[in-house]
């Protein structure tokens, strides 16, 4: 598809994404994601990479697709999903390059990616977007359907195909290797109130193993 730009400047996307689509997404953009995404987090990533190591195919064709780092709560009867906010992206750093090599184009999670993954996003023309951390209830409202397609024994960590309707995210790391967090925080830091050692680079966040 091509990226749809709304009157208020927000951009709407739907997988599959081309390199050209990805290039239109810049840090700070508010993006509405609709259509198919694949939910996968720690345990599913580990298994997917083990499958690739054995020469097997992934449970879904990842080329051009969007992966969402999420492990939802169980759905109530009559609901399509439970709460479904993002989990910390940097925990997936170890496995992400292998998926980018196969053509993964969009990733959604929480927090930033370090210089290494930013370089990989640039090399493979892919984009990382952050959803509202801890906003699991709101996120649920944008899920139209979901089904487990692989690794059911992993419970909340199974791979799910989800259909989203205008799920809002911010572009945090674009395919030019840029980092939104680094730019947004600097103007607000009051260095005069802080010891010198605290003039930290936001790169440090990315090596951390937050959860969610």
């Amino acid at each position: 598809m091509t990226v749809e730009v709304l009157d208020d400047g927000r951009k709407r996307i739907e997988a599959p994404l081309s390199d050209e689509d990805v290039r239109e997404l810049k840090i700070g953009d508010v993006v509405l994601v609709r259509g198919t995404v694949y939910a996968a987090r720690d345990a599913a990533h580990k298994r997917m990479v083990e499958m690739l190591d054995r020469g097997e195919e992934l449970p879904f064709d990842i080329a051009g697709q969007i992966v969402y780092y999420v492990g939802p709560t169980p759905e109530r009867p009559g609901h399509v999903t439970g709460s479904a906010g993002p989990t910390t992206a940097s925990r997936m750093d170890k496995w992400t390059p292998r998926l980018l090599e196969l053509g993964l184009k969009g990733i959604m999670g929480k927090g930033g990616r370090g210089p290494a993954i930013r370089g990989e996003l640039k090399e493979h023309t892919a984009v990382y977007m952050a959803a509202l951390g801890g906003g699991g209830a709101l996120a649920a409202l944008t899920v139209r359907s979901q089904e487990v397609i692989a690794f059911e024994d992993l419970a909340t960590e199974a791979i799910r195909r989800m259909e989203l309707d205008d799920f809002p995210v911010w572009v945090v790391n674009d395919c030019e290797g840029r980092d939104f967090y680094g730019e947004t925080v600097k103007p607000w830091r009051k260095n005069e109130l802080l010891p010198e050692s605290l003039h930290v680079s936001t790169d440090e966040w990315a090596g951390k193993n937050g959860g969610g």
Binding site: G82, S83, A137, A139, Y181, G210
Partner: protein
């Protein structure tokens, strides 16, 4: 000696079950108030947008259909067990874990605990076992506090055995460093629980207990209350803001607990809490 008061383990199970469900949908009143206050104080337009979303998320979750966050946490239980209580019918900790099992099942909450950390990492499915801290206190009641602690913020915790020579300034710098490095992963604005003193493990335990205090309530010790106010201001000077997208509201409160320590030691533990602060208590 007073006659022991008998408390049926089933009653403990019921209270734990109910609390697990309640807290995962409805954050404490003080959190509602403090997030709204942060919305008023926030200077960054993007930060205000984020806080508006968090307020909507609070309201939506309180309706009882979707938990506040999909990470329904480690279940941490604080038991203040009166020494004149005699628990009957089941083992105390079994009763607590049964409450967690029922609460997470009946409340449609996520099981996030794996049986072993290193090998299979198989999900127990019902969020057990709970992590239980017990304190024996005078009296014939049991106070039960349940906390659903998200891993995003928990993983941002830091601990150090500082030198006495590092002193107050060293301790403050360590806390600020921890908050600065936690960035977006800890889902700010949240609460910073700090434990200073004790030994290796006690500093961490009191940091967690600091988070269990009513949010925003200053320490009863005036010196510590002053330290909390200073750290609150400096944490917010870090500029992370809501979801670390920049702004003036990085933390809602800083709670510090201290205790006696060794002549050679200055242990400092920082337990970070996200905006999804889910806790509640009841007395039996």
């Amino acid at each position: 000696m007073a006659e022991p008061r008998e408390i049926d383990a089933a009653e403990i199970t019921r209270v734990v079950r109910d609390l697990c469900i309640e807290i995962n949908y409805k954050v404490p009143e003080e959190m509602v108030r403090l997030v709204r206050r942060a919305r008023e104080l926030e200077e960054s337009p993007l930060g205000r947008q984020v806080l508006d979303l968090l307020i909507r998320n609070q309201e939506l979750a309180a309706e009882g259909e979707y938990p506040y966050c999909q990470d329904t946490g480690y279940t941490v239980i604080f038991l203040d067990l009166g020494q004149d209580v005699h628990v009957t019918g089941a083992d105390l900790y079994d009763a607590v874990n049964e409450g967690v099992r029922q609460g997470y099942g009946d409340g449609y909450l996520r099981g996030s605990i794996v049986r072993d950390p290193l090998f299979e990492r198989r999900n127990t499915g019902d969020n057990t076992p709970a992590f239980i801290h017990t304190r024996v206190v005078p009296g014939d009641q049991i106070r039960i506090q349940v906390d659903a602690k998200g891993a995003g913020s928990e993983n941002m915790g830091k601990h150090a055995m500082l030198k006495p020579a590092d002193g107050l300034e060293g301790a403050k710098e360590f806390v600020l460093q921890a908050v600065a490095e936690s960035g977006p992963n800890a889902c700010p604005p949240g609460i910073i629980g700090v434990g200073i003193g004790g030994n290796f493990e006690m500093s961490a335990v009191i940091a967690k207990r600091a988070l269990m205090r009513k949010v925003g309530q200053p320490s009863s010790d005036p010196q510590i209350a002053e330290l909390e106010a200073e750290l609150y201001e400096k944490c917010n000077a870090l500029g992370l803001g809501p979801e670390a997208l920049g702004g003036t509201q990085t933390v809602l409160a800083v709670h510090v607990e201290t205790m006696p320590t060794h002549i050679a030691s200055l242990p400092v533990a920082v337990n970070v809490e996200c905006h999804a602060h889910r806790t509640g208590s009841r007395v039996i």
